[in-house]
Symmetry: C2
Subunit: 433 residues, 2 copies
């Protein structure tokens, strides 16, 4: 029997997972590598960060969700990190120094937090891309109220009860809306010395409106809904400094300082570092966000055996850039997988066309905006639509059931049962003294 062509897929996000599923039916030997052992349903990650859901509700082991594909015997899953790509030797260099050879490569390594060149901000304003990020944010948010309860100084207490979310995109509005809910409802009667209702949540956005990817009318509705929930929305404000005590902003009317011990970063992501290395190996220049330019069929110019998809790809569809959203990544995954098969069968490849099914964003309890073709929803109907759409697209029957149960519980009780903080920094060792 002739050896099957080897396809390597880097990353098991929405794009990579879809590509592997499509290739599992083909006559190829697929190796999927990912740094973690799980696929993450990122649209609900903010719920883990804000203690509404436990981590297993929004993530699933890669091996488990691909167990049927693995049973066919042509798929290997490795928990490994791709350090570099040698396009001449056609192999991926892994974190243990080994080389993984490929005949075709699909790079779907996604994006990571990016502080616009201010790496020192990372320590004060954590971003939200991974489960570890979500746990870190949960610990900060829950910990801030605990610290406030212990404060004897008024100014210090206020700073612990002030929260700043930077970035008015989907993640930023979700976080800001949920922080208000936690302060005004979840924790409202559980403290003795502080009144958690006095907590303030600012949402800072550089542009002149939140949810810039939506139409202006939806943005305006979102802003009104956020304000009704209790979020203080500040648009047209550029962040000039972040430190342990707060944020300095530059607005049209001058500089302003927000004294806040908890600052969350939702302002920017950039392509994973492997993108820059791949671009360099192919003699190309990545775009400003570090993404790799791709041709119409999602392959790299001069390297038809290498495709780039998802947040890592600077792709075009109908002359417009493809947005960094999960439906686009899934569609690219299917397209790249089909094009790998086309090349193996010496058929012409298909250019990628992004099909936009609409946009949804939630803002907190019973608040959301939805744009679907000509349909516009906001408030409670939009929230219900968002809820069922997200549950529907969750990986696996069990997760769907789990999330629906959890949400029903949270909705009726205002409780957020995942409020436990594990404190991984704390040693449990008994001192020998």
């Amino acid at each position: 029997m002739a050896l099957l062509p080897r396809v390597v897929v880097i990353g098991c996000g929405f794009g990579g997972l879809e590509a592997v599923r499509a290739l599992a039916r083909a006559e190829v030997e697929v190796t999927l590598i990912d740094r973690t052992n799980h696929h993450l349903f990122q649209p609900l990650l903010y719920q883990v960060a804000t203690a509404g859901l436990p981590a297993p509700a929004v993530s699933a082991p890669i091996r488990h969700i691909l167990r049927r594909e693995m049973r066919r015997g042509r798929l290997t899953v490795l928990q490994a990190e791709a350090m570099d790509i040698d396009t001449a030797a056609r192999c991926v260099r892994l974190d243990d120094g080994s080389a993984l050879p490929y005949d075709h490569l699909i790079v779907a390594a996604g994006a990571a937090n990016h502080w616009f060149g201010h790496d020192d901000w990372a320590a004060h304003a954590p971003g939200l891309k991974t489960l570890a990020d979500a746990f870190a944010i949960r610990a900060r948010v829950i910990g801030a109220f605990e610290r406030a309860e212990r404060c004897t100084d008024d100014a210090a207490r206020t700073a612990w009860l002030n929260f700043v979310v930077i970035g008015g995109g989907p993640t930023g509005v979700e976080l800001a809306g949920t922080l208000v809910e936690i302060a005004r409802h979840t924790l409202a009667d559980e403290f003795r010395r502080i009144d958690t209702r006095q907590a303030r949540v600012w949402l800072v956005e550089g542009a002149d409106r939140v949810l810039g990817a939506f139409e202006p009318a939806s943005s305006a509705s979102a802003q009104r809904q956020l304000q009704r929930l209790g979020v203080e929305v500040m648009t047209g404000c550029r962040v000039t400094a972040i430190d342990a005590d707060g944020v300095t902003l530059l607005a049209a009317d001058g500089e302003r300082r927000l004294a806040a011990r908890t600052v969350l970063w939702a302002a920017g992501v950039a392509a994973a570092p492997i993108g820059r290395r791949l671009a360099a190996a192919c003699g190309m220049t990545p775009d400003r966000a570090g993404r790799v330019p791709v041709t119409a069929d999602l392959s790299v110019q001069g390297h038809p055996e290498v495709s780039v998809i998802g947040d890592l790809a600077a792709a075009q569809s109908d002359g417009k850039p493809v947005p960094g959203v999960s439906p686009a990544a899934k569609q690219m995954g299917r397209c790249a997988a089909a094009n790998v098969q086309a090349r193996l069968q010496q058929r012409p490849t298909t250019p990628f066309r992004y099909r936009d099914y609409g946009s949804l964003a939630t803002l907190g309890r019973m608040a959301a905006v939805v744009q679907l073709g000509r349909l516009r929803l906001s408030g409670y109907p939009a929230w219900l639509f968002w809820l069922f759409a997200h549950v529907y697209f969750l990986i696996g029957f069990r997760n769907r059931l789990m999330v629906l149960t959890d949400w029903a519980w949270n909705y009726w009780t205002f409780a957020r049962h995942a409020r436990v903080v594990a404190e991984p920094g704390r040693s449990t060792k008994v001192a020998e003294t």
Copy 2:
């Protein structure tokens, strides 16, 4: 209005929580301090470590479970660590340097992992006392199979598929039994290069039988059940060395080396360090495990205003030492709270009497031993009994429902849905290069 007497309770485990609940109805001002923000249902912690349950299923925010008591307005909860106790000035020194004054003090700080003076073993053989410990063990166990899948060297692969659990008490047998289940069932068809069924699990116990707190017949039954599950039980073996590559044992027939990359510690706990400081402050000598000797009414000799309960107390009942189990801690909590009230009302205190309701231990899927008065159960009936007893005693209606649902799911599918590993060590920052 005269100031109410101030009662401080250190620790919100089974003992502390019960004491606070009992005191919430009394005419006292109670302050509860705990290092974490949650009460932990430790009997099920091994399920978090072995990915069967998410953390919120076995833990609950302290503020949430005590919200009704807090609403009465005489209970304060602080997330703080007690560093020292000044019995002369009658105050507890907290981690931020502040002093918390008391009229009555109940110390319920519990126990922590203890490597019998071999602190260097801690890095190679993590113990299981906190949620952070459970996450660390989960990451090691799941990660071991991932590493084995990537191994090209036979000996190295075998070492990643070898697991040693040290200590044949309740935690050790639970861990060993569940590790076998993971290897033989949960992961069985999800790897390509390794056969997870070839994993070996050793349970090492220094005494001549496992579950030493049970009757010999129950121990023998437990050992048979473990062996039937696939655990290799080694009794009468003393650990002499642990390093990154395995464990060295000394048995009656000589030294033996087990090459294993994953070693879990369930052999010993000792009282929390605050116990030694309290004993020193009272001019007493703690026992070998660091526990504080207490009088019949659970107070400290010469300090009737200080009580010690739970795993931190070296208490006697009917001339026998009280075991370090949760029912004993709860009973001590109620007794200490009643005695605080008795002293405040100048009534005589009540000596503590431990009421032993029996012992249960689970060994894995459908395997357990139960001793209840004259009743002896083992195997499936014991497992069912254990299951319902544990769910019944879980904190809160929601957690009970969650655990039952999760277990039903795990039972029928053999899946362990909490297999995700967050990798907190991993930075998500984009390198600027």
